[in-house]
């Protein structure tokens, strides 16, 4: 079972680096999804490890919350794009000065 957890850790790390490195807000969002998926894999693995379905339920709830989060997040990105004509995270810096 350890290798599943290791895979999950690797995917989580890649998602983390993606959030920090990428500039396009949509790709940043995809990396957040990757991190959520990685944690889901860990939850499902632990469910099997402990012979208990609670981990799968938790993964299911993570998916539901991720769906809601994606809907709102993409709507926000759309709104920003509409006013600023750019999906780059660097261009949304109105609060900076």
């Amino acid at each position: 079972m350890t290798e599943y957890i290791v895979l999950s850790a690797i995917l989580f790390t890649i998602g983390c680096v993606g959030v920090l490195v990428r500039r396009n807000a949509i790709v940043v969002f995809m990396c957040v999804e990757l991190m959520l998926n990685a944690s889901n894999l860990a939850l499902v693995t632990f469910a099997k490890q402990h012979g208990n379905l609670d981990g799968q339920i938790a993964a299911f709830f993570v998916m539901v919350v991720a769906a809601a989060e994606v809907v709102v997040g993409l709507a926000i990105i759309m709104t920003i794009f509409r006013t600023r004509r750019s999906a780059s995270v660097d261009d949304a810096s109105l609060l900076k000065y």
Partner: protein, 276 residues
């Protein structure tokens, strides 16, 4: 276990690809690879319900939503390579590597022991087992989820909605605007020329030829011009066609109408002779 070792490298490579590809669409497709592989991992981990949900919800709904938004935002909206914060990329990579090493070493140190396995919990079937837990222990969370989903749907509608602040332009307004542009700036009054009236092609991505042989740029869609996929009718093409028209052996049966190009490509004399 075979499915794990086959798919794990694919997943890691696809995830790494998300970090490096320039185009957002490619990142979305690589994420689809990761998610479908993850669904297979769920199936291997005795979670057939999550296998289906992963494919339907994540790959089917969420990724499609990503692709829709990418279409709205513009497929060519690729990432800029300019660093706004100096050294940020290097620091992020180092930090990520440290986090990865920490997590992997930490996990490798722990011994999980033999897995209990889900045979007992899944005795009545995975879906039934999940339903038993979901509608007893987690029923409150399940109900709250419905409130969350409604809030998210409403929020998305409010965010995506745009209030019209000016009245919609009617056809008469548009016509008046067109006339005003003509009076003030001398803008062309009529419709734009249609593309591809050059006799060789009637494709929309080929500019029409003006009487002097130059391409009419207004005749192709702005979108195609922005993508750079506009084909020009090159000079050598014109010469080749002139040669074909001039040489009767290359002339296909019933192609006499090709002489119509003579008007635009100065092959008037030759085509005139053939018709004569």
């Amino acid at each position: 276990m075979i499915s794990f070792w086959v798919l794990a490298p694919v997943m890691v490579l696809a995830a790494l690809g998300i970090l490096f590809v320039r185009k957002a669409v490619h990142a979305a497709l690589l994420l689809a690879v990761v998610m479908i592989s993850l669904a297979v991992q769920y199936a291997a981990l005795d979670a057939p319900f999550l296998f289906a949900v992963q494919i339907i919800v994540y790959t089917g709904a969420i990724l499609m939503l990503f692709l829709f938004v990418l279409m709205l935002v513009g497929v060519d909206a690729s990432d800029s390579v300019v660093e706004t914060i100096k050294g940020q990329r290097a620091l992020a990579t180092i930090g990520g590597l440290l986090l990865g090493v920490l997590l992997v070493v930490g996990v490798a140190q722990a011994s999980l022991g033999t897995a209990t396995g889900l045979d007992e919990a899944n005795a009545d079937g995975n879906v039934q087992g999940l339903a038993n837990v979901l509608f007893s222990t987690w029923v409150l969370a399940f109900e709250v989820t419905s409130a969350l989903l409604i809030t998210a749907a409403l929020g998305a509608m409010v965010l995506a909605h745009r209030e019209r602040t000016t009245p919609k332009e009617s056809q008469a307004d548009l016509a008046a605007k067109r006339m005003r542009d003509y009076a003030e700036r001398g803008a062309h009054l009529g419709p734009l020329p249609s593309p591809g009236v050059f006799a060789r092609t009637n494709a929309v991505d080929t500019a029409a030829l003006l009487p002097d042989g130059t391409a009419a740029e207004a005749s192709v869609s702005r979108v195609l011009a922005a993508r750079g996929t506009v084909r020009t009718a090159p000079a050598e093409d014109v010469e080749r066609i002139e040669r074909q028209i001039g040489d009767p052996s290359h002339r296909p049966e019933g192609a006499g109408k090709a002489g119509a190009t003579g008007d635009t490509t100065e092959t008037g004399p030759e085509s005139g002779e053939e018709q004569a």
